[in-house]
Subunit: 219 residues, 2 copies
Amino acid sequence: MSPPADAMRRRTGRRSGESTTREAILEAARARFADHGYEGATIRGIAADAGVDPALVHHFYGTKERLFVAAMRFPIVPSEVLGSALEAGRDRLGETIVRTVLGLWGQPDALEQTIGLLRAAVTNERAAEMLRGFVKGAILSTVAAFADEEDAEYRASLVATQILGLGLVRFVLRIEPVASASDEDLVASIAPTVQRYLTGDLQPHRREPSRRPARTPRG
Amino acid sequence: MSPPADAMRRRTGRRSGESTTREAILEAARARFADHGYEGATIRGIAADAGVDPALVHHFYGTKERLFVAAMRFPIVPSEVLGSALEAGRDRLGETIVRTVLGLWGQPDALEQTIGLLRAAVTNERAAEMLRGFVKGAILSTVAAFADEEDAEYRASLVATQILGLGLVRFVLRIEPVASASDEDLVASIAPTVQRYLTGDLQPHRREPSRRPARTPRG
DNA sequence: CGGAGAACTCAACAAGCGTAGAATTCAGCA
DNA sequence: TGCTGAATTCTACGCTTGTTGAGTTCTCCG
């Protein structure tokens, strides 16, 4: 039994030809983080999807956390994408942003990155930090050009409220009919909201901004 | 060494007096599910918070999943809460709903239930099912009284987009300044959005509702 | 052609998980 | 008083996880 024939034995050691496994691992990681979140995704599962031994993942990326950072940082540079949205002019800002975001989510890589970041950020503080930076970099820089300095951050986080809520309901929770609605219908429905958050009257009772504590998540 | 003195030994068996541990376990479970999500919360951790052996949790609730269901189903009956919101009249519907929801989230138990459901639903399909039912029961029943039958579900899921997005940004991701804003400021800013989703003109291009596939999560 | 280092796998570790079964102590009813 | 059953803990099984170290095979440069 167990003849160590050349064709049958599992091959250890380096493969011939140029290697693309590094990128394959990243793609598998993006998919699994998007589907299962940070804690739910396993290095063993990612390695299996990439057709590779789990130890190789460590060889390339060190720890699970560094793999996550590498996987989430790849394809999108949101400020560039949204930056071009500014050219449409102040009055069509909401429409352009919603359309741009939905278009971005039409690309599998970008969708996986966004969902992965969102799924992970909900239970992992480190990922939440990344998402906060993402929101701040992408939205705030766009808003700052149109809102007065004092309101800019408040307006930006209101926009985040609607955009992240849209992604959550449409792609993560998949609540119908929003989950299956066309991009154009969603643009028509949601763009006015974003437009008002950016340039409209928010009627804030600007007395004392009464602070109230929020929940503290995992360390 | 190790004298089995009466005062020193760990006590097994039933305690004297009437027991409140059953409820203590539920409270600990709510808090842990809210902080860590479904997979992240551990029965051992919940038991420790309740000052109890992990096996007792199983004795009472069977499996982790049934514990989750029990913990998430307790305090809120959302249709009752929102039902009273209807009395304010059609024109103030958005304001009343946003104010009611924010008031609800001022109660620790209700906040924990909502956050727990949200955190769990993002990575757990069973919890997502519960949250969908929650949204459908709470929001749709409210909307149906004011929107024509054809649009009601679409309007309800748009409202879910904004309300869940608000909860996500304010309590889970804690993106500033929304995380620390006063309830009243948020009502002033967000109520018009909800009002428009409920009773306003959504300008939907009602051609063919072009279906596009959404991501498939974990089984 | 030879050596260095990169790519890759194997096997194993310590830890943590959900869960199960048996043992012990108490409450309440006959 | 005695018995049944509920409340409670102990111990342990089997599994999965992230991570590590050693060993093997290839590529590439001198």
